[in-house]
Symmetry: C2
Subunit: 340 residues, 2 copies
């Protein structure tokens, strides 16, 4: 690999001149610059990003953590879409993406891993949880490392997050069911701590309350975004409440599980029971029957996240702020008027 020294020798100048020539400094003679560029091409020279990173303390790299928890990672279609957007946007801004994989480093934390790698900023796509993880998030908040999380309420001088309006989204979903005549509506939630889950539960509550329907705890189950647990939850609710006519699952993947479980119980969707999901992943429209759900703007989320991160990185004084994107009810075939 040709270095700046090789060019300097061949051109008969100093390395500093080569560097400044290639970086368009003004105090270098046009002729020498041309010659240097010529030789650089000839030697197929490309600057070492790692050497440059060492001295500049900028690597043009942004880190990416994800998938601590189940069902949230590369294999989850929702996060996949926002990562896809992040990749495009970050690429346009001239950054590469570093995916942290090192689970084997015991004592390492998000912040130390970032510093170790010298990333300029970092995306967090995970679902928190646990004291240890939480301490790590706090450390990251205070570290000064630009950071933006997806669906995780992280706020600090250089930290923020982007999310959908989960409250309104959930409310919209439940109101849709109520308009169809449903009053006994089950809720298949995520967990108690995730903000997404929490907000959606509140949306569920609000919709019921506004409609004068009493909240019934026996209609509510947490399934931790797991398809397996969603099946269990469905069975439990079915066993407890013979009169349930609709399910609101706060992720499409869980909604699929709910539907499968209902069908195993010889219940037809939507004739016997209506089901609505959340996310609007690609499979929602090809599923049979096509899933009624709340659509999140995945690409916009990735774009907004990248935008915030870029600004944070490039302007030390920029104070990023949380961004909440609207959702949309998309009615397909799994919800219908109540029949009984």
């Amino acid at each position: 690999m040709a270095s700046i020294h090789d060019i300097a020798k061949k051109a008969g100048v100093s390395v500093s001149t080569v560097s400044r020539a290639l970086n368009n400094y003004q105090d270098v003679n046009p002729k020498t610059r041309e010659k240097i560029i010529e030789i650089a091409k000839e030697l197929n020279y490309y600057p070492s990003a790692v050497a440059r990173g060492l001295v500049m303390k900028r690597t043009q790299t942004i880190g990416l953590f994800f998938g601590d928890h189940m069902n949230s990672g590369f294999d989850h279609p929702f996060f996949m879409d926002v990562i896809s957007a992040v990749r495009e946007e970050a690429g346009d801004a001239g950054y590469d993406l570093l995916i942290f994989t090192n689970k084997h480093k015991e004592r390492a934390t998000y912040a130390t891993l970032c510093r170790e790698r010298g990333v300029d900023g970092v995306f967090l796509i995970l679902t928190g949880g646990g004291k240890k993880k939480n301490d790590q998030l706090i450390e990251l908040q205070e570290s000064g490392i630009p950071c933006v999380a997806i669906d995780l309420p992280l706020e600090g001088e250089r930290c923020t997050y982007v999310e959908s309006n989960n409250f309104l989204g959930a409310k919209k979903a439940v109101l849709h069911l109520i308009e169809l005549g449903h009053r006994n509506i089950a809720f298949i939630g995520g967990d108690e701590i995730a903000k997404t889950s929490f907000d959606r539960l509140n949306g569920y509550r609000a919709a019921l309350s506004e409609s004068g329907i009493d909240l019934n705890a026996s209609y509510i189950e947490m399934a931790y975004f797991s398809e397996e647990l969603a099946k269990e939850a469905t069975k439990k609710i079915l066993a407890r409440n013979k009169d349930v006519t609709a399910f609101f699952a706060i992720s499409d993947l869980m909604a699929f599980a709910v539907i499968e479980t209902l069908q195993e119980h010889a219940l037809r969707v939507p004739e016997d029971i209506s089901v609505i999901g959340f996310d609007d992943i690609k499979e929602a429209s090809t599923f049979e029957p096509p899933l009624t759900t709340i659509s999140q703007q995945k690409y916009a989320m990735g774009r907004a996240a990248t935008n915030q991160l870029m600004k944070s990185i490039e302007d030390i004084n920029y104070r990023p702020s949380p961004i909440t994107l609207p959702t949309e009810l998309v009615i397909r075939k799994t919800t219908d008027y109540i029949m009984r």
Copy 2:
């Protein structure tokens, strides 16, 4: 960020001693080592991977290129699965993943980008094509950079690839149709250059030939792995050949498009026309009707690829060799006995 110098100062030793203490060299007094480790913890020290990378010429990072062509990238479920496997396996081996995004660097090539970033090896998940790309692949082959490609026949001293047995897979698919009584079988291909596409076409040919069925060029269309083009192709074949009773699309995504197009023409699947795909992505089983297809071992592909790459990286003398994994016919609901 605490550096090795800070530790040295605080411990009253030289930086070289600190480095050797932390790296378990034997010529350092146990007491001093302990003290140094103590101070390192106290200062929350983590070594700079970039500084280390500069001197060691190893970054514990592997690069990842993908998605030059349409329908092959983060958003493609098939590649997503193998990337997911790669991530896990590489993580276990202590490597992080660097996703190259820089499309804006005009003159840069795969090889120069790798050298620039100093990655220890690189995965190629893309579908070749074009003289320029091809030159880049040759440059990479000859660069000495450990490299393994997915579905792209790249061979060199330190380069190899992993693929499924596309020939046999395709043959299996078509024989399945033939066993069901079909003789007029359409082929929706990728492109002329991709090896996957080429091999699958040959499998199609072989199955027909072995069964004594003449090849009919009017049954063959290339759709470049695009859903849009697959729809066009289906229409063309339908217009040309009234007697076609089955379609073999060489990707599930294209198979979906074929089915939708058939349905738009009031043709039922599988009653009127059978359709078989290739890949067995997750959606294949939830699609309605569930898609009969040829299953690729995605996770195994990722694991094999990583395995080859790790060996190439860690042993300069290792000569990686191509790996071909078996496929499996999974019969669902889109293929049936011929009715006419």
